[in-house]
Amino acid sequence: MSGRTDKLIVIGNGMVGQKFLESLCEKNRDADIAVLCEESRPAYDRVQLSSYFSGSSADDLSLVEGDFFDEKGINLKKNCTAIGIDRKSKTVQTSDGDELGYDKLVIATGSFPFVPPIPGNDKAHCHVYRTIEDLEAIKASASESSSGVVIGGGLLGLEAAKALKDLGLETHVVEFAPQLMAVQLDERGGALLRKKIESLGVHVHTGKATQEIADGEQTRYQLKFSDGGTLNVDMLVFSAGIRPQDALARDCGLEVGERGGVVVDDYCRTSDPDIYAIGEVALWNGRIYGLVAPGYEMARGLAAHLAGADTPCFQGADMSTKLKLLGVEVGSIGDAHARTEGAHTCLFEDSTAGIYKKLVISADSQKLIGAVLIGDTSDYGNLLQIALNDIKLPENPASLIMPDMGDAPGIGVDSLPDRATICSCNNVSKGDLCTAIDAGAVTLADLKAQTAASSSCGGCAALVKQVLDAELSARGITVKNHLCEHFSYSRQELYHLVRVHEIKTFDALLAQFGSGCGCDICKPAVASILASCWNDYVLSPSLAGLQDTNDYFLGNLQKDGTYSVVPRVPGGEITPQGLITIGDIAKRYDLYTKITGGQRIDLFGARVDQLPGIWQELVDAGFESGHAYGKAMRTVKSCVGSTWCRYGVQDSVGMAIFLEQRYRGLRAPHKIKLAVSGCTRECAEAQGKDIGVIATEKGWNLYVCGNGGMRPRHAELFAVDLDNDTLVRYIDRILMFYIRTADRLQRTSVWRENLEGGLEYLQDVVVNDSLSIGSELEKQMQLIVDNYACEWKATLADEESLKRFRAFVNDPKPDEQLVYVREREQRRPATEDEKLAMQRTDTMEV
């Protein structure tokens, strides 16, 4: 840009206007910027608007970080509407009576809700759904209403209906078209969606034109329909579409579309080269984009353009959507209505499960041009990539939407073109990743650092990794799964080396098979392998330096450097006296106490020097370590089962306790969780665990490789109606096989997904003993079961080990920098601000 500072005015501070400002500031472009913001607050997240009803505050929704405007020297005028543009003098008139000059002007005024011209539409309890103020007004009306109707059954209308339902109103939706979501869904999809929404208690009226909103008798209002029908309600929300807020542009003579919208070119330029329009107000190629992502693209593009880039700002965007409406999953891609010449379709419908999927296929059967998904959108990402990238369809396209036919043909990343977006949060394409790989990136961490891929929500990590592996092998680089720079072996290989060579220490392994001194990756991994193989006391001096701090101090490190204490409570069964003992200890040490998600009790805030004292008391009272700190067997969750529950068919608590006592202390590549339910109602959530057991009339069903956490995975049915002995034998074998063959930090779910041959192979190994290692696996497990000793008990009996629980080697006084405040009658670490405040007065020592 030239040396002088341009005057830039942005009209509208909505989602797109704000994104534009952020992008511009990133480009460090020197400009004198004024922003006219009609609303009383700067930009907020309109997409998440409905969460305002479920507890988000205006602050939570804000899109403005900290003192953004002050920091960047932007002049933000709140409550200030632009009322006129004079293109000759290049000025904007504002509602404050001001006149501001510009060199460049950006119109980002968005759109306004369309209210159909129905008599009575201006009554007091008639609303629209666009701003925080609108929602406040709806809330106020709802508090004095018992029923409500949304006029309009599109995307937004259904969202508004959910809000009314959540506000406790009897809720209706009136739609003019014969079906719901007519823009995105075909007729059958619309019908299924309707059924689902009705089953949630929302009344749907389609094919109804409202003629008048009259005063009602029992209710506040009565809607009169053109077919003579009526509907009695207390309040209304209009959601009948949006219209671009283009009055300013129209008045100053800029070109606008026939049905509204400021006409722009590929550079977001209006018919006046000094005026730009972006977001929902802009009409590009005859289209208005009512979604935020295309608006963001315009914002980023325009910022780059103003900073000197010469590439077009916007070249159209995809309007595919995936969402969860009233708890119903809905997805729509491309030409959902199969309007393209010669298009044919492929359908899957399961009306009992409420699932409907449709593929729209090009006339030559080569390409996917559209899709509708209702009830199950798990194929959405896959299908969208196929459609967007013109990937050739498989012989039998139906396999893309058939439920679990075993081998759904995933799209190999090889077939993705370079422009395919891999990380949507950060707009990173496959090409960007390849460029980084060409420049030397060889790990996921490299790619993350160089392209920002997978650095936001992380949802794309698996895909990024696949691209990385594929690209590396395409470049002839063997993908190494070496543990770290000290060992050129994978975890599985090291495991075998340890067993075959009967290696008992890290130093021996390093001397024979490694190099250097080791690090925080290989040391804990080898410690875990040694423990799984030989089950030696974890605190023995030869293992000490290998352990992560959690294993070293037998507690979970907390953010302030203290530790948590979790006694084992097998199966979640605990005596009243046990509860009193734990409570008593927690009270004396002033430990923050919480019931965990694993059916036991966590005591937080113990200093290293306090741990032995606390555990001495617990051990004396008969408690054992819960291994909450280890990559080890954690808990066996149970439901109350046949002993008390009227539906229970087996003693699930008894089985859970048995299993927990059998596998306690077992070390593994990652943590292991089990659960036992007493009947098919599954109150112990066994199908979300690594090993899940569900009672049947005849015995036990065994489920394997489930996971909650970051990426939940449903466990798979492994075997049915097992007796106690067979059940335990199978679990022994499965767990040992996992420990032998899994990678570092791989839960059973991921291990299973990477297991060649899948579930069948695992069944073959465990049930049919196809590798003839069954008895060996059992023997090894038995060794570990027999060698079990409570780590805390052993530690308390060992003077040498106890030495490590000192705060300082040369001073018995504990860390004085631990500061706490009380909240809800318990202690918690002070925040940084609280610490500063306290330092100014009197430091509070605990």
């Binding site: 000290h486 070293y552 040369n810 860390d815």
Partner: protein
């Protein structure tokens, strides 16, 4: 200045297991003292600037590209044992202290050495 004024005796080397660390106080300042298998001793600051907790002594010791380092037990950044400088962000340093062994006793110098990379 005499020896006593410059140096503080902290503990016998045998109080520190090989490849582990302990925390100590030098003039009220918290330091982390590490010992390698070859009986080499290093002293760096105990305060982890990334988490705000005093925990560096509890990290795992090892080497990265031939440099001896300790990994913070909280968020796993690595710090060089010889000068406390952070591998991931060379602007950050924990500081280091001179150290000697006399008669099997770890003796630490009172004057912290801060050096930015």
């Amino acid at each position: 200045m005499s020896m006593e004024e410059e140096w503080v005796a902290v503990c016998p080397t045998t109080d520190i297991l090989p490849w582990t660390g302990v925390a100590a106080r030098i003039d009220g300042q918290q330091v982390a003292i590490f010992r390698t298998a070859d009986n080499e001793i290093f002293v760096i600051g105990n305060h982890d600037p990334f988490s705000g907790a005093n925990v560096i002594s509890r990290g795992i010791v090892g080497d990265i590209d031939g440099e001896l380092v300790v990994a913070s037990p909280v968020y796993k950044q690595h710090f060089r044992l010889r000068d406390g400088i952070c591998i991931e962000d060379a602007q950050v340093s924990l500081g280091s202290w001179p150290v000697r062994i006399f008669d099997g006793i770890v003796v630490v110098g009172r004057h912290q050495q801060v050096r930015a990379a």
